[in-house]
Every structure is written in C-alpha cells, then in structure tokens.
C-alpha cells in the first residue's frame, strides 16, 4: 500500500499534500496496489473528500494536541501510525513540515528515503526515484534498497489531479507524547500565496534600482494574480522582505510562470528558479545570461516594458 502524509496548518489541509496524494495514487496504480492517506490532528475539512485525489481511506490520529507541529512528536506518531496502517511506500510533500519529519520517519521505520523527487519512481526493476540535485542543475536516479520506502515530492513537479470518489475514515489509536516545544508566536504574511506554492511568480532584481520603484512590478503581479519574489542582493539590501529571496541560498521554486525583471541570471539565482515551466526575462542588456535560460525574452527598459505588459494583460482579461 502507498500511504500519503497529509500536512495541515491551522486545521487546514495544505495544498502541497493534494499534489502528494495525486502522486501517491498514481504510484499505487503503477504498483498495482491502493493508496491511503494519514493525517495527524483535526481539520475543518471533510476528509472523505480526499477520495477525489485518489485515496480510498484516510487514517487519522485525531488528537488536538497534534494541531501544533512539533517535528519530534509528529515523526514519532507518524511512524507508529504507519506501523498500524501498514505501508510499503510513504509519500510526503517536500514542504517545510514534510522535510522536517520524513527523514525521521524513515529512520524509525528502517526505510531508505529519497527527498525532493521530481517524477514517479521506476518500479519495473527495483525501486528507482528521480530527484533534482545540484540545486536543479541535474537529476539523479536513486535506488532505494529497503523493504519500506519513503519519498518526499518536490512541490509543483507532478500537479494535482482530481476525479470522483470519497474515502472512508479510520481513526488510529496511537499514544501521543507530550510536546516539549512551546510555540510563542506565529507571523504569517497576510493574504499572499506562499512562494513555494505559487504557480505564477513575478520577480525583481537590482535592475529596478531601488525599493521605491517596485510599483511597476507589483502592478504586474496584481494583474496576473502572481506572487512576488526577488534576487539575493535585493533582499540583502532590505528593498524587499527576506521571504521573497529565491535562488541557491533562498527559496527554490517551480512555478508555471516565472517573470524575471532586471535580474542578470547569475548561476546561483538560476539554481532557485530553473525548474519553472516557463521563464520570461525582461532585461535591458541583450547579453544578460538569464536570456539563455529563458523561454521568452524582452530586451528593453523595465520601466517601459513592465507597464506595457501589465496593460496588455488587463486588456486580454477584459476581453476574455
């Protein structure tokens, strides 16, 4: 059986988990087995609806204390629950919480693990998982040699597929250790889609010259309904908040569309964005290295090109 871990925050199922279910369900089909899900804590959603993404059953450890994430407690409970539910493969989203617990769960189950998978495993001859390595500059195919396997799947690399179906619910009785981590404050960026979940991203670099010039970029992002990102020097100079920094040392993202404005395309920047499906580069220098990694390029001054692009998008939306 393939078991998918459902990550929740504030008692809501995280979007990355729906993609993990779609991936796990496709893997189960390939292996000729069924897919089930596991969730810790209690959520507001009707969990039977997860059946739409391909799981037949949802195992729940319905203890409210698990609504606060503590990696140590969570990994312990997940491993115990997996032992009860029984699974050959456990799939996690490669998001903040998934990364924090999947390797610990693997240790507890004596399972081999591949993190950051970018495609379905090959299962015809052993169990071989492809993942991105060297910050997106290459792929590695890694064979897992243990009976139980753990995978975390890169966000936006598989997509979410939904059809019909409902899942049955089963409560698992697992004893929950007391957490010795006390959460003292939570700071959420209001109303924005987290960068790692965003499908459309508009990003700015030093070419925009200063924080006071970000208006053109924000207007474009608003017209598209996109999240905003930036290069490292931009966040280092506090022109933009640190959580917008993408690249080798910032967030690694894989949106459907990445629009880079006034960013030269240094190799360390590309390492964070080269998994984007479509890349548009707007730069006044035709020699900017970013054009080599782009699908579409506009050589021109951002302060003219970006407002024109925003207007074109608004026009196209109005006529749709």
């Amino acid at each position: 059986m393939v078991l998918i871990y459902i990550d929740q925050a504030d008692q809501e199922v995280k979007k990355a988990s729906l993609e993990a279910i779609s991936y796990g369900a496709a893997l189960a089909k390939q292996m000729g087995t069924n897919a089930e899900a596991i969730i810790l804590g209690t959520v507001k959603e009707d969990l039977s609806q997860l059946g739409k993404y391909g799981v037949t059953k949802v195992h729940q450890v319905a203890n409210d204390s698990l609504n606060h994430f503590d990696a140590r407690v969570n990994a312990t409970v997940t491993a115990e629950a997996v032992k009860l539910a029984g699974a050959d493969v456990i799939v996690f989203a490669h998001n903040t919480n998934g990364k924090a617990i999947a390797p610990a769960v693997a240790v507890k189950l004596n399972a081999g693990i591949v993190t950051g998978a970018s495609a379905l495993p090959k299962t015809d001859n052993g169990f071989v998982v492809t993942k991105t390595v060297f910050s997106g500059k290459a792929f590695a195919s890694i064979k897992i040699d243990t009976p139980i396997k753990v995978i975390t799947i890169n966000q936006n690399s598989f997509g979410t597929q939904s059809t019909e179906g409902t899942a049955t619910l089963e409560t698992l009785a697992v004893s929950v250790p007391t957490s010795s981590i006390k959460i003292t404050s939570v700071n959420k960026v209001q109303g924005e889609i987290p960068l790692t979940e965003a499908t459309l991203v508009v990003s700015g670099g030093r070419g925009l010259k200063g924080p006071e010039n970000w208006g053109v970029l924000l207007d474009l992002a608003k017209a598209l309904g996109a999240s905003t990102a930036c290069s490292r020097p931009v966040s280092d100079s506090d022109w933009r908040p640190h959580h917008e920094h993408v690249g080798q040392t910032g967030y690694q993202i894989a949106p459907n569309l990445y629009i880079a404005i006034g960013i030269s395309g240094a190799i360390q920047h590309l390492a964070g964005v080269n998994r984007s499906k479509t890349i548009v580069v707007i730069n006044k220098d035709p020699e900017a290295p970013f054009f080599k990694a782009a699908d579409y390029g506009v050589v021109g001054d951002a302060f003219e090109v970006v407002p024109a692009l925003t207007a074109a998008i608004l026009k196209s939306k109005a006529s749709a």
Binding site: A9, F69, R72, A75, N95, T96, N97, A100, A102, P103, A104, V107, K108, A111, G112, I113, V114, T115, G116, T130, V133, S135, K137, A138, A140, S141, I142, K143, D145, S180, I181, K182, I183, T184, V186, N187, K188, V189, T196, E197, L224, H242, H245, Q248, T249, L257, Q268, A271, V280, A293, D295, G297, V298, V299, A308, L309, A311, A312, K315, S316
Partner: protein
C-alpha cells in the same frame, strides 16, 4: 554549553556540473570545494556568535567524509570553533552519514547540534531530521533565528507563508538557513590558529547504505529564447496564453 556544528563539503556554487563513468559519478575535475554555504554562513557563524557572547560555549565541528574533506574542516576551524572531528566514511547515503554523526553526538553529549538547511549538491535536507529520530531530541528545521537563554533555546523557523517562534529546553537540533547570521571571512589570526587546533579522525562504523545512486542526467537544454519586441506586449500575452498555456 557544548555545541556540535555539522560541516559538509560541496562544490563551489559556480562549479560546472558534469558527470563521468557513464553518468554514474560527479565529475570532480577542476571543481573547487567549499564549505556548504548553509553550514558556513549560518550555522557555524551563529555558533561562533554564541561563543563570543559566552566564553563557556565550546564548539566542536564534525564532518563525515574522506581525507579530501580536511581542507574544508580546516577552513571552518579558521572561522572559529575549538576542535574538529572527521569520520572517515565517504558514503553518500544520508542514513549512513546521520548514524555516524549520531554516534559522535552521543559520545560528546552536546546541548545544541546545528546543521545547514540542506547541502547544495544533493539537496537532501535530511540529516537534522534523522538526528532527531536517532537521538530522540527536539528538532526545529529551517530556522532563521536562534537565541540561547540559560537552558532554553528560542528558535524562529520558516513555515509555509511565514515564520513561527518557539521555545525548547536544551538539548535541541536546529537546521539553519538565511537570517541566522551574516557571512564572515576568516582572518589571518584564525587561519594560523586553525593549524594547531585538534582535528581528530574517527574510523567509519556504519557500512550499510539504504540507497544507491544509479545515474545522473542533465536537464534537457532550453530550445532557445524567443525574443519579443518591447512594443509588442500583446504578442507576449498571446504566447503565454496560447503557446505556453500558463496564464
């Protein structure tokens, strides 16, 4: 307080990524090796800052790797830290590396173990979480801030779409990322001092890997950029809609 900082060796961020032996091995030809940036800039420098505030802090560095990791661990010692341990195991399996580090950690009874968020070559982001299970200690991943107050750690971590601050008693394992500290450059005094700091070599004790790398591949090259005239933004919108189908 005893701190263990986990140091890994990675290719320089601008290194050419190529493979040999039928695409089964990373081509190390001409590659410059560096301390994994997350380990150097964030966890090591933060540990040094803690020691600068409190002289009772003892910093040990650990690396799991072959003898060619020694220049890297010496460079880390030049930045700061009291002594280093190299476990002579060149396995690329995270499970093996984590078990080797766990053995060192048990022996040294550390109050704080710092790792980087991930290595920039294999991007596993696994060692800290594995140590959490192997040592049964609290673990906070992808931390952007860390303060120590007596026997308590106050840690801010990244969550999807924001940050969360939590308190935990020591011992604790923390994986570090941007925000934690500012990059430093080793000075002459540090480099001289590093030469005489102890570097202990421990023989490998874990052999059984759980995974094996079969093959590497490079991503398919982009077919080439399509240039659009800056006055034709309607055309770009049309391409994004109808050709790329992303908006």
């Amino acid at each position: 307080m005893k701190v263990l900082v986990c140091i890994s060796k990675t290719p320089d961020t601008t290194a050419k990524i190529a493979f040999t032996e039928g695409n089964t091995k990373f081509d190390e030809n001409g590659v410059q090796w560096i301390i994994n940036p997350y380990d150097e800039w964030y966890s090591l420098v933060r540990a040094i800052e803690l020691k600068e505030k409190d002289a009772n802090v003892i910093i040990h560095l650990v690396t799991v790797g072959a003898a060619d990791a020694e220049p890297i661990i010496r460079k880390a010692l030049a930045l700061g830290g009291d002594e280093a341990i190299r476990v002579n195991n060149s396995s690329s399996d995270s499970m093996v590396v984590a078990q080797e580090i766990a053995a060192i950690a048990k022996e040294g009874a550390y109050d704080l173990i710092l790792t980087g968020k991930e290595t920039i070559d294999y991007n596993s982001a696994s060692i800290g979480s594995m140590l959490c299970a192997l040592l049964d200690q609290n673990y906070i991943a992808a931390a952007t801030k860390l303060e120590i107050d007596g026997t308590k750690a106050i840690v801010t971590r990244e969550i999807d779409g924001g940050e969360e601050t939590a308190e935990s008693n020591l011992p604790i394992i923390v994986s570090c990322q941007k925000g934690m500290a500012e990059q430093r450059i080793p000075n002459m005094r540090g480099i001289m001092a590093a030469r005489t700091k102890p570097l202990k070599v421990v023989e490998a004790s874990i052999q059984t890997a759980t995974t094996s790398i079969q093959q590497f591949d490079l991503p398919a090259a982009k077919s080439g950029v399509k240039l659009i005239d800056p006055t034709q933004m309607d055309e770009l919108v049309k391409l994004l809609k109808e050709e790329a189908k992303v908006i």
